[in-house]
Symmetry: C2
Subunit: 525 residues, 2 copies
Amino acid sequence: MATASPRRRRNARAAKHAERAAPLQENERPVRPGFEGGRFAPFTDAQLDHLNRATLDVLADIGLANAIPSCIDRVVAAGGELTDAGRLRFPKALVEDTLAHCMRNVVLHARDPQHDLNLSGSRVHFGTAGAAVHMVDIENDHYRDTTLLDLYDLARLVDTLDNVHFFQRPVVARDMIDNRDLDINSLYACLAGTTKHIGVSFTDPDYAREALEMLHKVAGSEAKWRERPFVSQSNCFVVPPLRFAEDACKCLEVSIEGGMPVLLLSAGQAGATSPASLAGSVVQATAECLAGLVYVNLVKRGAPAVFGTWPFVSDLRTGAMTGGSGEQAILAAGVAQMGRYYGLSCGTAAGMSDAKLPDAQAGYEKGAAISLAAHAGANMVYETCGMYGSLLGCSFEGMVIDNDMLGAINRTVRGIEVSDETIGIETIREVTSGAQHYLGSDQTMSLMQSHYIYPEIGDRTSPKEWGELGKPKLLDVARKKLHATLSSHYPQHLSPELDAQIRAEHTIHLDTALMTVSDRWTTEN
Amino acid sequence: MATASPRRRRNARAAKHAERAAPLQENERPVRPGFEGGRFAPFTDAQLDHLNRATLDVLADIGLANAIPSCIDRVVAAGGELTDAGRLRFPKALVEDTLAHCMRNVVLHARDPQHDLNLSGSRVHFGTAGAAVHMVDIENDHYRDTTLLDLYDLARLVDTLDNVHFFQRPVVARDMIDNRDLDINSLYACLAGTTKHIGVSFTDPDYAREALEMLHKVAGSEAKWRERPFVSQSNCFVVPPLRFAEDACKCLEVSIEGGMPVLLLSAGQAGATSPASLAGSVVQATAECLAGLVYVNLVKRGAPAVFGTWPFVSDLRTGAMTGGSGEQAILAAGVAQMGRYYGLSCGTAAGMSDAKLPDAQAGYEKGAAISLAAHAGANMVYETCGMYGSLLGCSFEGMVIDNDMLGAINRTVRGIEVSDETIGIETIREVTSGAQHYLGSDQTMSLMQSHYIYPEIGDRTSPKEWGELGKPKLLDVARKKLHATLSSHYPQHLSPELDAQIRAEHTIHLDTALMTVSDRWTTEN
């Protein structure tokens, strides 16, 4: 380098500039799905062992109530025991046998393979989850009921948000009159809106079966669906503390048999349906999910399942859920580390603000909780965007804002690469003996796009520039971006032929007239 | 327990309730200053060794420019070398000798001993730092110039905020005409407002000497000051990359000789005054602070110093600082881990939002960055509250909001205690065989106040309650709390006699008429 002529340097720099103008290759982007987290360890190894022993004791000794006959039969045949009080006990050997042969390194496929999620190691992915019953109508300062159309709009919004890696149904389509319509139409709205991995839930095994038929059509055939299942079932198989949920268990069996991955979701609430002691909540949630994992593997050995310990937290003064508390943040990180301890593909929930609006409280609650869950190595961090009011409200604008947040947090998960090259002592030597600043150095130029991420709507202006721009408010900027997106991004993820086929065989309530450019969303805002 | 009569149980519960109504002992509070962080390790051990080797190479080989003669003399006498180009090189043996005998486990005292900061291990403390040149006037949507009165008001506000553990001067008193007035009056305003540990800075060694005289008076005598120095000097002894700052070095020597702890602050900006490569920025900042540490210890072996690696980050598109970026968040965590690697009392900056206002962006930038720096084990996390516009703006309302945030983050630093008692298998057994919920269990009651922290202004209402309350906005609630505090909390931290003494010997511009209840702040807002 020291012998390069000034002209040769200028040329090299011009080439770099040209390079920067070109779109980055996928593997050169500053942030990508699936960086390795796991550098945050809330527990010591000894504590993990202690929690594991207690978990196995709970399963072997206390067990779970309300198992359905098909579950009881399977577990008892495998060495479990049904007590006189009707509790199903899972002996240590059965749990350990499950851990020895269950599927690890689950891949959750997406219709577009570039969105496949590789849940191995401590690879971290961010996405949505449900299920809010209100949309936060920020313009009218109002919580209104959620609809099927909201779900479709959220799906196509997330379809465009780079830092949201999967789309689990974030809202309940409350305008659906019966549960069949709800289940089938929710799936349809997600499929129509995004080719990212989709998560849905089912209220009845028959609807799960019908959904599978729809998915076979979308995939092209049952075989193709089974090859790359791009929808998972979020399944609340357990009603904490330690009771199976009958209908959910039936839906679980349908999913497994139909080749649909399941999210084994235990959602106790510390101080209400799980222990107020956070360690106790970790143990109960872990025990519940391990019971679910045993069950899944007895239905089908090696069936894909995500270990979904989602322990929530109560405000102990009122008993109400507080999704944005510090207790919630550290609890999510703790269970993520338990998932890693077992080497399972795991997910938890973080980002469930208590604030009613996308305000500073919402921001800090999300920023802290999601960072800790991600760095603790959760493979799937659910509920990371758009959720307010402890999951009761969902905001379109919030999704847009949170996309920037997730990009920045993912940059922290990427971490700091250390090598002689990245340290670059020669660059330091060159600058300190010359320009005294790194602004134009080759290193700076080369890292500008590949190592630094820039927010899409987040404000980085100086106070002076901010004033000149009319002091834009974040929510207004988010709304503008939102309208620009939703007034134009009507993806054709279901071809007209496929759509007609689906509508011929399933009752679809999403009006096709609303699935194309109209004045529903305008760029005027 | 199984044999306790129902009546005895009721009595026990009534006793618990009575206990809960009583104020908590300091050591029973759900969060306290000084929890052990350090469970987030952005770097592996091998990476830390690599960074250390590179750092020592930079010091031995490149060294620092612009050392003042007293520094050169000391360093050369101790084995260093001044190159022909005027760079002062620090051989590895000199650095390692310093590390072998420098003060560790620094205690930063406070006038009120309950606010002493024990910077040992990975104990984490949160506080303010500077220095903004604007107040964010939220009511008028305006950035206005900061004044001495703002500094005083901020000091007495922080005096009341439980989760802000120290007060380093957050704003520049721009209404002071000369630097002497600035330095002396800034110190005075801090002392008048709070008995927490104070950090200030000096522009000239003479003003530092005058400040020490004032501090002797406040302490009662020079000996008492030296016994428990309750003010530290934040000292930018280095102008990155790798150049000493002449005036700051002179001030540093005065501080050390005067028994005032110093914050050795290196504030390069990646991509501008430090390498764009984050690993390079870690190395440069660490080298600079180690050079400062050698210097301090050559002035006085074992003098108290905080290892202040504060590497900032540029938006590489513009060269402007971006305090709220993901790159900034992980960089702060990385240098905190370097501080722990050396076993030094260390501090870094986190929470420097790019947003202009306390909005969702500000929230997530702060929540993520502060969480990571704290869990990485920074003993002092500076800039954690009230700062916007990449440190250009400071907000009173923001301080109130961020106090809640820091409480929640500190709860995550406290972590999850694991023991047979905290896991509480018997509680799980009892609930699953009985009530099926933990709401009224003894465990829940006993943890309600000692293990759960509740926000002071943060919103945890349900959407329904929120509507009934008139849909309060966070900023309005913060403003109300702010006015209630500042209209009433006029502490007498300087007795009238002491105040008169100070005013007799120093030119104090803070009008005593403004240091008492007036209509400057009202509870009407």
